[in-house]
Amino acid sequence: MQGGTASMLEAAKAEHLWPRPPRWAMAIGAAAAALLLAYPFVFTSSFAHHTMILILLYALMAQSWNVVAGFSGQISLGHAIFFGLGAYSSTVLFAKYGVTPWAGLLVGVLLSAAAAVAIGVPTLRLRGHYFAIATLLIGSSVQIVFQRWEWVGAASGLYVPIERTSPWLYLQFHRSKVPYYYLMLAAAALGYLLVWKLRRSRFGFRLQALRDDHDAAASLGIAVARHKVLTFMISGAMMSVAGTFYGQYVLVLDPERLFSAEISILVLLMTVLGGSGTLWGPALGAAVLIPLSEYSRIWLGGTGRTVDLIIYGVLIVLVCMWRPSGLLSVFEERIRRRRTVS
């Protein structure tokens, strides 16, 4: 009993509200990192590189969605806004003014954070379904604006001008996809590190409280609205980074695709499939769904796109029936059981 109180005091002083990850988890993490670093040399086909780049990209995008939905409990259906803003910021600056996409990346992040405030301050007062509906509509409105806006290419979109002089400065690699792979890996790793830190911080801790019980959190003195807006900003900034990298990867910006509700919903599906509110759920969801859509496209040709959506639908229904907290919970449960046995 005494020991319990003492450890509580210590925990209070050291701010260790979350236990450190166990050693075996660190070992798995290190092994996974090594595998990811070696991947392009083990699987050398361009298709293998492409698939993995998309997995990493979507893992980052789904994590960004997870920050808002999984941690602060707000379902956004307009996340494609930030994806598109990221892609357009870097491309407009480069195509029109010759500014390096690295600077464009930062501009995109700032614009997306500003957009998150503009959207979040009025809409985050809404709870539950109403926030989802509002973001869905704002998302389509932004898409329509970009489809009509002549200065940014309207419906035909923009091309990223080809620049072969300095690949790292202009963020374009035409010989191989491997540099893109490592860039995406670094971006995703940074994103996940940020979220890991965030989740363990006092801020993240309060977010989970307000997700679980809005009124109780407010009555304890947590400034609920401010926390939600700040979370939305962080999330939008992460999504924007993914947008810039995507633009530099495909070199064509199509507002139909970039601002589509399909992207907003895809990141939702991945997160829910993997496990929303968890750190690794979004990555797991991306690792399941991206290969599914890429392979179905190969096997079934142009119509592959719709078949993969049918499979997504079936998967989501199955997850909702058997694993409402996501695929990751299957593993978590095993680990917990083993722990309690030993």
């Binding site: 509580m8 509200l17 309060r206 409280a209 679980d212 009124d215 009555s219 304890l220 003195g221 947590i222």
Partner: protein
């Protein structure tokens, strides 16, 4: 007076449920807010803590008007609100739930010591400190909700139906905790449907009926009042 509520009116949209309610709690005093189901007890307390906006009237705590302060800015003044039906954070541990109670800076600095005090009041919470709150029994969750409220070092503790659905043994244990808090000088505002139980713990009582103040007075006179019997039993 520590808490003064003056002519409070509260409405959900166009639907007004509280009409001109006034009440007061002095420092160190324990007061019961009573009334049948739907008489507006919880609405009054939710308005004091800011979860609902007041339509008219004033709420002062320690002389400071609260009506223009957002919810989160009221807790640091020294008001703890233990919501109805416990409302602990289900996916956080007991310890994490408690620490969330100690959120403003003065409470944060003392939170280790406060937690120790709370574990003294509720030894069960110490045994369960690393368990997720949703795995606790109803009584343990109520202890946690009260403990979390106390972590803010409040001067006024408002508890909404703390005995609802508890086993008699647990209810008794809670009662003795409230006695301890009272003897330490904490002001407590109880919301209860159980008149006898509430009046046995409180010095004074206010009884609401249909959103209006029906009768108020010292606990001893309310217990046997025929008017109170009429309100609750309709006879």
């Amino acid at each position: 007076m520590l808490l003064e509520v003056e002519n409070l009116e509260v409405a959900y949209g166009d639907y007004q449920v509280v009409w001109g309610v006034s009440l007061a709690v002095a420092a160190g005093e324990s007061v019961a807010l009573l009334g049948p189901n739907g008489s507006g007890k919880s609405t009054v307390v939710n308005t004091i803590s800011g979860l609902l906006p007041a339509k008219a009237g004033d709420i002062r705590f320690n002389g400071v008007s609260l009506v223009d302060r957002p919810t989160h800015a009221r807790a640091p003044l020294g008001i703890a609100h233990v919501l109805e039906r416990r409302r602990v954070f289900p996916h956080l541990t007991v310890q994490q739930n408690l620490f969330l109670g100690a959120w403003h800076s003065a409470a944060r600095a003392a939170r280790g010591e406060t937690a120790q005090r709370i574990f003294g009041l509720f030894p069960r919470l110490l045994e369960r400190q690393n368990q997720l709150a949703r795995t606790l029994s109803g009584g343990e969750q109520q202890m946690l909700a009260i403990g979390r409220g106390l972590m803010a070092l409040p001067r006024l503790l408002m508890v909404d139906e703390p005995f609802l659905g508890l086993a008699p043994q647990v209810a008794q244990q809670l009662q003795s905790v409230f006695e301890t808090l009272k003897s330490e000088g904490m002001a407590i505002l109880f919301i209860e449907q159980n008149v006898r139980l509430a009046l046995s713990m409180a010095g004074r009582g206010y009884i609401l009926e249909g959103g209006r103040l029906a009768i108020a007075g010292p606990a001893a006179t309310l217990v046997d009042s025929p008017e109170v019997r009429r309100i609750f039993l309709g006879v």
